[in-house]
Each structure stands twice: as structure tokens, then as C-alpha cells.
Point group: none
Chain length 174, copies 2
DNA sequence: AAGACTGACTATCTTTGACTATCTAAGTAT
DNA sequence: ATACTTAGATAGTCAAAGATAGTCAGTCTT
């Protein structure tokens, strides 16, 4: 078994054992424990604990610093989960983003308020920085996923599970 | 727990227990109590009790000198306005964004949910596209402004600038 | 070729201590 | 009395040291 896989399972065990929906760990301690370079931890995090995997990472440097990993439960057949993992993809044109948002609000997958918040974050004015359109598309996709994940997490916290279920498996390139 | 965090909570407890909206303390006594260098107190004040955090500091040197910490209450609408117009500016470092969000939630200017949504949109993971940091700073400012503006509009629509419960969020929970 | 792994370099946050600035009070000179 | 001086008591500043985590390009493995 590869080291990365071992570390991955270890972290997932920690998450499973935790009361909360997240765990805190010290990068250096973990690296010490597994006898590897500290940057190996970053590698594991960036390849196996990404937003599309349903994880959020927060960290602090300096004395007393640490890494926090938050897991958002994915339920089978959860539409939000499908969106984050597949539908949004790596690139999202402005037009597609608006279309998607409208669908999500109309199908009550997300609230109107949340839809407006996402729209605000993705608005052309917000993204009016001098970068190629391809980069903006990547950005839209990332921001969209990150915000949807946050909504999923909130749903999980409030124990008020997904408003809808309906999975429509459409093709997913945007 | 970091010493700075401990001292921060201690001071906030004092503030909470106080009848006034401020407390007075002796730098050296505090330092003695926490067994640290007096300048540590200055560090805590300058990183956690700034105007952005909603605090004002006054002090007197010499015999009988002391430090006074005052918590400033702000009107929601005005504060949001100020943020949108002045504070956010054209550029916003990651650190500043987090600081700002934390203060906004602590002062109930925005709800915890909105704070988390903005944090999700501004998270390093969401902005992980290959552009210079200067561009990211510009982007953060724009997204932040756009989302705050959306909140302000929503408040106006509902005519009910409803705050939320006072929730103390943890350090990088924002 | 793709994924796993590493190490040097960088960025950020905390803590400390030496040095500086300011204030009060008491003492001294006029 | 009034002005000046000085000692002691505070607080402020800043840069260095320490403690973490992040990045990235190159190497190794499969």
C-alpha cells in the first residue's frame, strides 16, 4: 500500500472517530508519525481531500498553527453532491453558470437567497480582473463548487437534509 | 491553545463582565499573570483588538498608567456601507478578508451563514487558479464587495435588517 | 507517462527582549 | 511659591528568533 493511501485512511479514521464534522492536525506531527516529508501531507490533502471529494481545508501557520479538515457527508443520490462532483466540472462559462443557478433555484435545490449570493460572487463585475476567459471559467467552476459545498455542509449541520433528490444525469461538460 | 488566544479570551471575558463598554488594565500586571513579556500584550492588542475588529485602544504611560479597551458598537447599515465603499478597497489580502469576515459575524453585521458563504467564495481552494497574488487580491476585493452589496440589497428588500444570534466563531472557522 | 515523494525555499504567525517614549512625584534651586 | 531636575513607573516599537504550514520543481516508482 502506498504511503499516501495509508495517510488518507488514517485521516479518514480520525474523521470517523470525531464527534464533529472535522479534525485538526499538526502537519509536522503527522509527517513525523509516518516518517515522511511534511510536504507529503500537502500532497495527500491536495489529491484526496479536495472540494470535489467533499472536503474543506483550513490552516494556520506560525506557532500553534494547524490544519483542519472538514468533511461534508455525501448522501447517495444527493443532487448537490452530484453537482459538486460532476456537473460543475472544471470550467464554467458565464452563461452556463446563470443557467445552472436558475435551474437550481427553480428546482428548490438551493434557496433563492443562496442563488443570489452565488450570482453575486460570479457576476461579471466581481470577476472583472485582467485574466483570460479560460481562467475565469476555471474560477467560476471553483467558486461555484466551493459555495455549493458550503451549502451542503450547512444542510448537514442543520440536520435538515437535502431539499430535493431528483438526479438528472445529464451529460456534464460545460 | 496559543497564549495570544488565551489572552484574547481573557480580555473579552473582562469586557463581557464589565458594565461599561470598556475595561482598563495594567499591561505589566497582565503580563505577569500570564507569565509573558509585556510586549506580548501589545501584540495581542494589535492583532485582535483593532478598529477593524471593532475596538478602540487608549493608554497612558508613566506612574498610574494603564490601557483602556473600548468596544465600539456600529450601526449595521452604516457599517456595511463603509465596508463596501471604503474598507474593502481595490485589493484585499487573504488574511484581511478573514479578519474582516470574523468581525462582521461577531458584530452581527452579517449572519454566520452569509459569512461562511463569503468565506467559501474567497477560500484559497476556490481561488486556486494560476494568476499573480496581486490579481487575486483584486479579485477578493471585488467578490467581497459584490456579495456584501447583495446582502445590503436583501436587507433593504426585506426591510428587516435582521441580525442573528451572537455566535462566537472560532479562529479560522470563518 | 502518471502518480508518489522529497527537499529547498518561502510565507505567516507568535513570542521575546532591548531600547525608547511618556508620565508622575518628589526633590532642589531661585 | 515657581520653575527645574531627576528617579521611578509605566507603556510603545521594532527587529530577531522560533514555530508552523505552503509551494514548486525535480526525482523516483510503477
Amino acid at each position: 500500500m502506498r504511503l499516501s493511501d495509508t495517510i488518507e485512511s488514517f485521516i479518514k479514521e480520525l474523521l470517523g472517530a470525531s464527534e464533529e464534522d472535522g479534525v485538526e492536525l499538526k502537519r509536522n506531527e503527522l509527517a513525523e508519525y509516518f516518517q515522511c516529508a511534511p510536504s507529503q501531507i500537502n500532497y495527500v490533502l491536495s489529491t484526496r481531500f479536495t472540494p470535489d471529494h467533499g472536503y474543506m481545508i483550513e490552516s494556520r501557520r506560525g506557532g500553534g498553527g494547524c490544519i483542519r479538515i472538514i468533511h461534508v457527508e455525501r448522501k447517495q443520490g444527493d443532487y448537490l453532491d452530484y453537482l459538486i462532483r460532476e456537473r460543475v466540472g472544471l470550467s464554467l462559462a458565464d452563461k452556463d453558470a446563470q443557467l445552472l443557478l436558475r435551474q437550481l433555484v427553480e428546482s428548490s435545490t438551493i434557496s433563492r437567497e443562496d442563488g443570489l449570493m452565488i450570482a453575486a460572487a460570479l457576476s461579471p463585475q466581481a470577476l472583472a480582473v485582467p485574466v483570460p476567459e479560460t481562467v475565469k471559467c476555471a474560477l467560476r467552476a471553483r467558486i461555484m463548487r466551493s459555495m455549493l459545498l458550503n451549502i451542503a455542509r450547512r444542510n448537514q449541520r442543520t440536520k435538515q437534509p437535502a431539499p430535493t433528490a431528483l438526479i438528472r444525469i445529464e451529460h456534464h461538460e460545460v
